[in-house]
Amino acid sequence: MTSPAVKSTDSHVLRILVIARHAFTQLVRMKVFYFLAVFAVIAIASNFFDLPQHEVPESIGVSVLRSIKSWSLGTMTLFSVVLSVVATALLLPKDVEDRTLYTILAKPVPRFDYLAGKLLGVLLLIFVSLALMDGLMTLVLQIRTSVVLQQQLAMGQQLGWGAAEIARLKSETLAQGPTWSLQAGVLAVFIRSSIIASLALLISTFSTSTLFTTIISFLVYFIGHFQADARDAFLQSETGGQGIGARIFTLLTSLVLPDFSLFNVIDSVIEGQIFPLVMLEKLMALGLFYAVLYTVCSWFIFAKKEF
C-alpha cells in the first residue's frame, strides 16, 4: 500500500510535469524552433571560412574544424541565453494576460509546483533546442573531419610517414572533431542557461514588466562574468589593503550573483582541450544548486503574491 507521503510526492511531480508540458507547448507555439533554420545556415556557412592562411601539411583544414565549433557553440550560447531570459520573463505576464494563471491557481495547485513546472518547461525547450543544434553541429563536424582526415592521411602517405606518425596525426585531428568533451561543452551551455532561466524566474516574480525582467537578467548575466574578480578581490582584500566599503561591495557581489565565468570552459573545449568528467560533474552540481536556490527564492516571493 502506498503511503500518503509518497502519494503526495507523486502528485507534486505529476503536477509539475503537466505544467512543464503546457509551458513547453506554449513556447513551441511561439515558433522558437524557426531559429534552427538560422542555426543550420550558420553551421553550414562556417564550413566555408577556410582562409588560405599559414598551414603546414599537418594542420591542413584543422582551422575550419575549429571555426565550425566556434560558430556553432557561439550561436548555441547566444540562443540559449536569449531564450532562457526572454521565455522565462514572458511566462508569468503571459499567464496573467491570458488569465490562465487565475484558472490554475484557483485549483489546488501549490504555487511552488506552478513555478517549478514553468521553469522545467523552459528548460525542456532549451534542452530540446540545444540537442537538435548539437546533433546538426556534430553531423557537419563529423563530415568535415572525415574530409580533413582523408586529405591529411593522403598527404602523410605521400610523404612516406610511418604508422606511428600517421596515428598521431589522426588522433590530433580527431581531437578537433566531434568529441565527448565537445558534448560536455554543450551540456555546460545548457547548465548556464538553466541558471540564467531560474534567475530570470526569480526576477519575474517581483518585476513589474517583462522588459524589466529581461534587462535585469541580461545585466546580471554580464556582471556574473566578473563575479570571480569580485570574489578574488574580496578573498585577497586583507592583503590588498582595501577599504571597508570596497570589501562589503565585493562580498555582496560574490554572494548574490552567480559566477558565469566558470562556464568559459566552453572556449577551451572549442580549442580542442579535454573537459574532465569530474569538472563537468562539479558544474552540474553548481547549476543544480543555483536552480534550486533561485526557485525556492522565487516561490518565497510568489507564494503570497496577490493577482
Binding site: F49, L51, Q53, H54, S59, V62, S63, R66, S67, S70, W71, L73, G74, T77, L78, V81, G160, W161, G162, E165, R168, R192, Y221, F222, H225, F226, A228, D229, R231, L235, L252, S254, L255, V256, D259, F260, S261, L262, F263, N264, V265, I266, D267, S268, I270, E271, Q273, F275, P276, M279, K282, L286, F289, Y290, L293, V296, C297, F300, I301, K304
Partner: protein, 325 residues
Amino acid sequence: MKGWKKNLILLTILLTGGALRLPFEAQLTKDLRQAGLIVKPLQIGTREKIGQTSSAVALGGLRTLVATFLNLRAFSAFTEYRWNDVEDIYDTIVDLAPHTRYYWWSGSNYMAYDAAPYSLYNEKLTPVRRRYEWQNYILKGESFLRRGLQNNPDDPELHKNLGTLLADPNKVRAFPDTTASFLAASQEFKTAADSGKMLPIVRRLQLYALARVPGHEAEALALAQKLYNERLKNRAPSLLCLLIVLETHQGLIQDPAKRAVELFGDEKSAYKALGYYWRDQVNYFPMDGIASALKTLETGLSIPEEKSLLHLKMPPRFGTDEWFQ
C-alpha cells in the same frame, strides 16, 4: 508577513546560499585555471581594441567566436599589407584564445615570414629603414612564439616553430647573436622531439641546428651517430654529410672522400650529395673536410678544374652587411 521582513528573509537566503557556494566556486575556479580550462580575464587594452560590442560578446562567454571574427579581419589586413594592423589584431586574438596554438603560430608567421620579407623589398623605404623593419618584424614573430610558449609550455609544435624560426638561415642575422640563436633553436627542437609527439625530422632539425654551433661538435656528432644507427629513414643526405664533417672535425677520419663513398655507395652519388652540401655554407653549416673530399672526388671522376664546385661563387649570407649592400 510584512514587506521588509519578507525582503530580509529573502536576502538572508540568498546570502546564505552565496556563503555556501563561495568556497566551492573559489576552489573550482582554481582547479579550472590550473587545468588551463579557463583563462585570465580580458585585459583592459584588449577590451578597448575589440570595441564595446565585441567586448560584450567576449565577456558573454564567446571569446573564441570573437577570435574567429578577428581572424577574418586579420586576413583582410594581410591582403592589404597593413602589417601593424595584423600585429594588433593578432595581439588581441591571442589574448582572447591563448590556448589555440594556430593563432600564436599564425601571428608569428605573418610577422616573420610575410611582413619581414615585404619590408625587405619595399622600395619606398631607405636601405637602413628596410633593414630595421625586416629585423623588427622577425623579432616580433619570435615574440609571438615565445609568448605562445609561456601560455602553452607543453606544446611541442610551438617549440618546433620557434626552433625553425631561430635556425632559419634567412632570418638568423636578425637575432643579436647567430651562434646563440642556433643553440637556442637546437634546444627548442630537442624539447619538441623529447615530447615523443613529433615526426623524426624534428630530431634531425635539432642536429642541424646544433652542428652549426661552434664548440658543440662532440655533442652533435653523438647525436648524428645515434640518428644514423637508429633507423634507415634518418639517413638523409644532409645527415650523412654532417656525419663526415663532424667525424673529420673530431679527428675520427683522415680521408673524408673515402668515408663519403662508403656512406653514399659510389663516387658519383657522394660527389652529388657533397656538392649540394657545399652550397650550404651560406646557411652556416660547418664544412670540415668537405673541400678536400670534393677535390679528391673531382679527381677520381675526372672533372676539369674549371668546372670544380670549389670555384663556385657563393651568394652573400642573408641579412649580412654585404647582403644589404
